[in-house]
Symmetry: C2
Subunit: 160 residues, 2 copies
């Protein structure tokens, strides 16, 4: 059976994110998975996701780092707590800060691979470093500081 | 006559950016202007640009900071050189790094205002700080380090 993505475990009410919500039909639907101690997501930009013709838009790269970072944070917290994703209570992270260094232009027409490494888990905060590569070459490096979603933003009856 | 946006001066070949290109019909078409010593752009997120229902997607906020930053860089360089935008040679910046701090969730359904301040112009590099507000409240702060586009990425016959 195909492994479920981190984002596939988000409760329905929290699955409308433009970057990674499985229920946002206009969105990018990024899917992130464990690969040993790292996490990985693959995304193929659409032909209009360009900065200049032939090269991927930097804001898209920032977006996939963002969603891969918060997804990795949720998965890492489950792993740290020794429980499976999908068990109660659901955990959802939001982004406190996002940093991206663009190393070289990412060519359009190939898959982007984003890989995440958990640098820190402390209290409500998880720090994830990420790197994005295209055709085996690293195009961008980033860092996401993710924090558990505040209770007032959780759908009714849920806790973060 | 309505003021032209910075992005309206980009040469056609460089006007396909997903975030701000006037010729990218799938894109966001961000438009940035001078407002005294600051620069400003207004963008109304679409109903699907959400992180969770009711709140704007962080990757979109990163994207508008990115494009407003590179647009501000181009405008600032023209101003520093004492020449009008649209004069030769055209100038186009790309993003070397992008940093965003998310202060509070941005509600969906109101205009976002992004304001830029030029912090540094040095050689091929311009540093722009930005803040994004919704309904008068600051939701995010960011910084863009923009560099002039390398010659090999410029369309044939153009110089950066």
């Amino acid at each position: 059976m195909k492994q479920k993505a981190f984002q596939d475990y988000y409760p329905d009410e929290l699955s409308y994110c433009y970057g990674c919500g499985r229920l946002n039909d206009q969105g990018l639907k990024l899917k992130s998975y464990w690969d040993g101690e790292e996490t990985v997501a693959i995304f193929t930009p659409r032909e209009y996701h360009i900065a200049i013709p032939g090269y991927v838009y930097g804001g898209l790269i920032a977006s996939i780092i963002d969603c891969h970072g918060t997804g990795t944070a949720a998965a890492a917290l489950h792993r740290a707590e020794g429980r499976e994703m999908g068990t109660e209570p659901p955990v959802r992270f939001v982004t406190a800060s996002l940093h991206v260094e663009y190393m070289r232009p990412a060519p359009l027409g190939v898959e982007l691979e984003v890989r995440g490494v958990v640098k820190e888990i402390k209290g409500r905060k998880v720090v994830v470093s990420a790197r994005v590569s295209a055709g085996g070459e690293i195009c961008a490096r980033g860092e996401v500081v993710a924090v558990r979603m505040p209770e007032h933003m959780m759908p009714k009856g849920r806790t973060a």
